[in-house]
């Protein structure tokens, strides 16, 4: 309260005038402002209608009331004091001015007035009456008060550390300016409202109420905070609701704390509610008009500020997390601006390059680029600035990095480029030291070369050993021949049987040597690449085989012309067809040769028979060197045919596998059948013979098994 007083320097000298009371009444009645006459006890003797209007009652109601009884609770004492000062014995004041809040009698609203009290003396110069002129300050004061409220609030929360501290300061300020005793905030989380740690109490005695609150959770529509959460409208609970457990779940604690009024106000932003504030007013401050509206107004302003603070915190938290992650990474994570100056530098970068963040931040990132690459880097940077696009962005490239000590090492860089609305063109890169990987790659390549060299050596050895074995073999066979020619008659039956066995074994050994040489030769010959008509090639082989195996029926489908080494394909088909005939288990086999091209350009060749088949568990084993499923016999193969085939196919980058011949294993077929499928990479086929439909492989399509006559290009029948 501002109280100003002026001491009159001189006493008014006595004169015969109209009695003081009469004069005072005249003054009051004529006054343009609200005015009244007070006696020495401060009672209103006379008031004008303007004052009655100001205080919300008739003039008659004011008469006889002490001024203090009209004052707002807090201003009672200053009001009494002002009157006392005027009428004080001895050194009384002639005039007292004070700002005084009164409560309107009709609606209890505050009336803010500038009261100017002047003393009237009687004929003897003694204080007799006082005349009060009242200027209505309500509008101006209220505005000023609110302005200070907001200003203080903004200043306070502006300095707050985080959104919680900000809420705390806001509650405190609101409690102070609206004379609430306690305030707390309910925040929604996981679908319920719970108490935020932020709260304020003007004095002690609220622990129970606070404790009861923190234990509570409100769903939408539950309790006063939940209700406000749902409606978004402020809510006030007064006497007697606030003490009714039916209406207010914390009525007991509120009563104990002396609470008479609860105000529940939403803290919202245009995009939605962020919290509900709950304010408690004690009995002595209760019923203050306009309080709820004022708090609501403040919170409307506060919502967006808190929201912004929270967003800042979330951003800072995520930045912090990003920094933690980048620092924890072994990779170097760096970013740079459009001019190529470093803007961030992770722990990983510190370890990798030997520069600490504070040493390189702001410097050009050429600090980690070897001298000879810097021009290239500058050109690339200029191009990105010009076009906004980076050739490197989105891909992983291998570069050379430069350490602080001048040493270089291989790095793998993945880079991102974006146009930042605040900082412009920006780059971020993840760099990985790939020294170890490079070393491992080189070691691998070296051991692969070593393996290839030793393989080649082994093949050469096998080749020359096999050749050396051939020479005695030739002699052995020659002498055997002449032994038989010259001495068959002397050896007798038993002797001739032994001779036959020796001859069989020797021939078998010869085949073994032959196949060994073939196997070792597959990888050795460079192989001329030329156009090979597989159809003609297969027909040639089939003609030879058909002569030796008259009962076997060969079916040759449509085969392409490929670019390849003709020897390799001759050997492949010779071995596959030979195997089919040799291991079919019957004389009247049907052997089909076919080819298809896959959509991706790969070529699939197939040789299928309807013989006894190969059990699945043995299908991998048959590709091994010297592997045969039947017992070794001089009459059978050497077991190297499929090994040679696999080697040929793998050298071409393809694969070979054994399948059931589904067509042959159909009911009624004599055997299970075997289909060898060779898959060769795209790009080998030059042409397919024209004018004929591409046949599905026999093995894949059961309906093709009893093939219509003429479908097959080449049929050899005994």
């Amino acid at each position: 309260m501002q109280v100003s007083a002026r001491v009159s320097g001189r006493r008014r000298f006595r004169r015969r005038v109209v009695p003081a009371r009469q004069r005072a009444v005249v003054v009051v009645r004529r006054a343009p402002l609200a005015a009244c006459v007070l006696d020495a006890e401060g009672r209103i003797l006379e008031a004008n209608p303007a004052l009655g209007e100001l205080l919300g009652c008739g003039v008659e109601h004011l008469k006889g009331r002490p001024l203090a009884s009209l004052a707002y609770l807090e201003d009672v004492t200053p009001a009494g004091g002002a009157v006392a000062a005027l009428f004080a014995e001895g050194e009384g004041l002639d005039r007292v001015q004070l700002e005084l809040r009164c409560v309107r009698l009709d609606n209890h609203k505050l009336v803010w007035g500038a009261w100017d009290l002047s003393l009237l003396r009687d004929a003897w110069g003694r204080p007799a009456l006082a005349v009060a002129l009242v200027r209505d300050l309500s509008q101006a004061m209220q505005a000023e008060y609110e302005r200070r409220f907001f200003e203080f609030m903004l200043r306070t929360i502006g300095g707050a550390e985080g959104s919680e501290a900000m809420l705390c300061d806001a509650i405190k300020t609101i409690c102070h300016f609206t004379r609430c005793a306690m305030g707390q905030v309910w925040v929604p989380r996981d679908g319920v409202l719970r108490c935020s740690p932020a709260w304020h109490a003007a004095r002690g005695g609220f622990d129970q109420l606070r404790g009861a609150s923190t234990a509570l959770r409100y769903a939408h529509g539950e309790g006063p905070p939940g209700l406000v959460w749902t409606t978004g409208e402020p809510l006030a609970l007064g006497d007697p609701d606030v003490h009714d457990p039916e209406r207010f779940d914390r009525a007991h604690e509120a009563y104990r704390a002396g609470i008479r009024e609860v105000l529940v106000v939403p803290l919202a932003t245009p995009s939605g509610l962020i919290a509900v504030m709950e304010l408690f007013v004690t009995a002595d401050r209760a019923g203050e008009p306009g309080r709820l509206a004022r708090i609501s107004r403040v919170l409307t302003e506060l919502g967006p500020i808190i929201q912004r603070k929270r967003a800042e915190e979330a951003l800072r938290a995520s930045e912090e997390r990003f920094r933690e992650v980048t620092n924890a990474a072994l990779d170097a994570i760096v970013s740079a601006d459009g001019d190529g100056n470093l803007r961030s530098w992770s722990r990983g970068a510190e370890r990798m390059f030997g520069w600490r963040a504070e040493e390189v931040l702001g410097r050009p990132l050429t600090v980690i680029i070897p001298e000879r690459f810097r021009r290239q880097h500058a050109e690339g940077l200029a191009r990105v600035r010009r076009t906004g696009e980076s050739k490197l962005a989105g891909s992983v490239v291998e570069l050379t990095g430069l350490r602080r000590d001048g040493s270089e090492f291989p790095v793998e860089l993945s880079i991102g480029v974006w146009d930042d609305p605040t900082t412009g063109l920006s780059f971020a890169g993840v760099l990985r030291d790939i020294t170890e990987r490079k070393q491992a790659e080189e070691a691998l390549a070296a051991s692969r070369r070593e393996l290839e060299r030793s393989n080649a050596e082994l093949e050469t050895l096998v080749y020359s050993v096999s050749h050396d074995l051939k020479s005695p073999m030739v002699s052995l066979l020659g002498y055997l021949e002449y032994l038989r020619l010259d001495y068959a008659g002397l050896l007798g039956e038993e002797g001739n049987r032994y001779l036959e066995r020796i001859a069989d074994c020797t021939l078998y050994m010869q085949r073994l040597i032959h196949d060994l040489i073939e196997l070792s030769r597959v990888g050795r010959t460079g192989g001329r690449v030329e156009e090979v008509d597989l159809g003609a090639l297969v027909r040639g082989i089939v003609d030879d085989l058909a002569a030796a195996h008259p009962a076997v029926q060969f079916r040759v489908g449509r085969l392409p012309v490929v670019r390849a080494d003709p020897l390799g394909f001759r050997q492949l088909y010779t071995n596959l067809l030979d195997n089919a005939v040799r291991h079919g288990g019957r004389d009247d086999l049907v052997v089909a040769v076919a080819a298809t091209s896959h959509p991706d350009g790969a070529l699939e060749l197939s040789v299928a028979d309807d013989g006894q088949g190969i059990p699945p568990e043995h299908r991998e084993r048959v590709f091994g060197v010297f592997e045969r499923l039947d017992a070794p016999s001089t009459a059978a193969g050497t077991g190297m045919g499929l090994a040679i085939c696999r080697k040929i196919v793998e050298l071409l980058g393809g694969s070979i596998a054994i399948h059931d011949n589904l067509a042959a294993s159909a009911p009624g077929s004599p055997g299970q059948g075997t289909e060898v499928r060779v898959l060769l990479p795209a790009g080998m086929v030059c042409a397919w013979p024209e004018g004929e439909p591409e046949l599905p492989p026999l093995a894949r399509d059961a309906s093709a098994a009893p093939s219509p006559a003429g479908l097959f290009e080449h049929e050899v029948r005994a």
Partner: protein
């Protein structure tokens, strides 16, 4: 290094034709078997000389061209020999200035199934080739064909 002249027995049919052959072969067993095959030829009487190394063969042929009737009418040349192998012998023979040596019929003997050995031999001027093994009717039939072609 005297050339060893071994007269072979006359053919079974009474020696109506004769053939002088130089055998170039380092393997004694192969040598024996080839000579046996030549010996058994029907209707051709074969006289064979033997050289056991490539150098010896070239030397023998160079000298033989100055003695009338000493130059063989057919050379059977093994490809696989140590140091100077059959191909080298062919190369040197075809490089001789004497047209008699340049055009001398040379049949190479090879135990390799590889086409490229044979092709190379033919490119170097081999007249024909025979495949070892040396046993069986096939070999004998082929030798018979050769003998009939060059015998007189």
């Amino acid at each position: 290094m005297n050339p060893q002249v071994t007269p072979c027995g006359a053919g079974l049919s009474g020696g109506s034709a004769s053939l002088r052959v130089l055998l170039v072969e380092d393997d004694e067993d192969h040598l024996f078997l080839i000579r046996r095959a030549l010996h058994d030829l029907a209707g051709v009487s074969v006289t064979s000389e033997i050289a056991r190394t490539g150098e010896e063969a070239v030397e023998l042929l160079r000298r033989a061209r100055f003695q009338p009737g000493a130059l063989p009418e057919l050379v059977l040349l093994d490809l696989k020999m140590p140091r100077v192998d059959g191909l080298e012998v062919l190369r040197r023979l075809r490089a001789e200035p004497d047209p008699a040596l340049q055009s001398l019929p040379v049949v190479v003997l090879t135990s390799s199934e590889r086409d490229d050995d044979r092709e190379q031999a033919l490119r170097l001027g081999a007249t024909w080739f025979l495949c070892k093994p040396l046993d069986g009717a096939r070999f004998r039939a082929e030798v018979q064909q050769l003998a009939i072609r060059w015998a007189h």
